[in-house]
Symmetry: C2
Subunit: 218 residues, 2 copies
């Protein structure tokens, strides 16, 4: 048995887990859940049995346990295979790293993900109003992150190797680029992003590299 | 020196940290940040120096480090003082516990917190439309949590002692009650809530028990 990841190529949360699996050097099988086709495969009974919340990602462990929520999966992977670590070595840096990750995971992404944008559109919001909402939460979070990230002297956000804060940042920057949010106010975040995106573990986790990405992108 | 918590009596995220501090038996000093008065003290320069994101809670450690984000603070407290633990003993239960906590922290609360409801009101939404939004995300999250919580045989959600999933649940149920969202579809969550609310550590962390709560509630 190996690890199985229920993933969608363009899901920010699944992207985080793919990076972590690659950094840990763990093999895994991808099962694609298409979040848009047929009204969203994540809402169908088959996937709801795996994850009753109908969100991706879900990780199935070697002995068949299902773990949901990207942050819980990242912490699990750190316990399952401690080296190489995706957390800084000292307790205060670990706390800052987890806090930066949560700034993305709980203050930006939940407001800007698919199900929320769909809700707002159903309320009659036009695309420009949705885009303003989207950009607002990106900027609120990135402003704080940029300030936090600039105080450090490490190559990545909290260490000289990539940690969970970098993982969450990279996936969120991908998403911001997709929505054409300008990021020139965040030079330190952009620099960290560039440090990550020369690494194979990050490149191979990219949405366009996934087996379920549309061929036209390949 | 002791621990200092920047808190607001009715903040769900600060409530989580207060419970954890009490469960760990850690003394701390409360510094109140009023989220509504004067346009919100969290936006003022004084507090932005502590936490550039302008959110509560922030924990100041014994040696003066500032830690933000409730989940990062809970994990820090678990490392700082491991006993009594607020995480289950085995790795799979720990992962399920962290996932349940994240369901509250990243799938319910970010959509229903003050700054988001204020944004929607500025967009012209009337109270009933905001209330529908609020209840929608509570039900989406609680439906999944109820299903997950019902499969366990432990007294609390993931162990026979209260863990971070219970902490997050209790604070969110307080908030749901405040917005008068009916919770009768969630008997297991309600039962866990009741198990928690007979414990001194939870009672003393309650919003109404805080030094900055309005006197009329006392």
């Amino acid at each position: 048995m190996t690890l199985t990841l229920y993933s969608y190529w363009r899901s920010t949360a699944a992207y985080r887990v793919r990076i972590a699996l690659n950094l840990k050097g763990l093999d895994y099988e991808t099962k694609a859940v298409h979040l848009v086709k047929n009204g969203g495969e994540q809402h169908q009974a088959g996937y709801r049995e795996v994850n009753p919340q109908g969100l991706v990602p879900s990780l199935v462990t070697e002995d068949g346990h299902v773990i949901t929520q990207s942050m819980a999966i990242l912490e699990y992977l750190e316990e399952y295979q401690p080296a190489p670590s995706i957390l800084p070595e000292d307790a205060i840096s670990r706390a800052h790293c987890r806090a930066a990750a949560q700034t993305v995971v709980s203050d930006i992404h939940p407001l800007d993900n698919l199900r929320v944008l769909q809700y707002l559109k159903k309320q009659g919001w036009q695309q420009d109003r949705v885009d303003t909402w989207y950009a607002h939460w990106i900027h609120e979070g990135f402003k704080a992150l940029e300030q936090q990230a600039s105080s450090g002297k490490t190559q990545f956000m909290h260490a000289d190797y990539p940690c969970i804060s970098d993982i969450c940042l990279v996936a969120q920057i991908y998403n911001a680029n997709r929505f054409q949010v300008p990021l020139n106010a965040y030079p330190r975040l952009t620099e960290i992003y560039q440090h990550c995106m020369v690494l194979d573990e990050f490149i191979k986790a990219s949405p366009e590299q996934q087996p379920d990405a549309p061929e036209v992108l390949a």
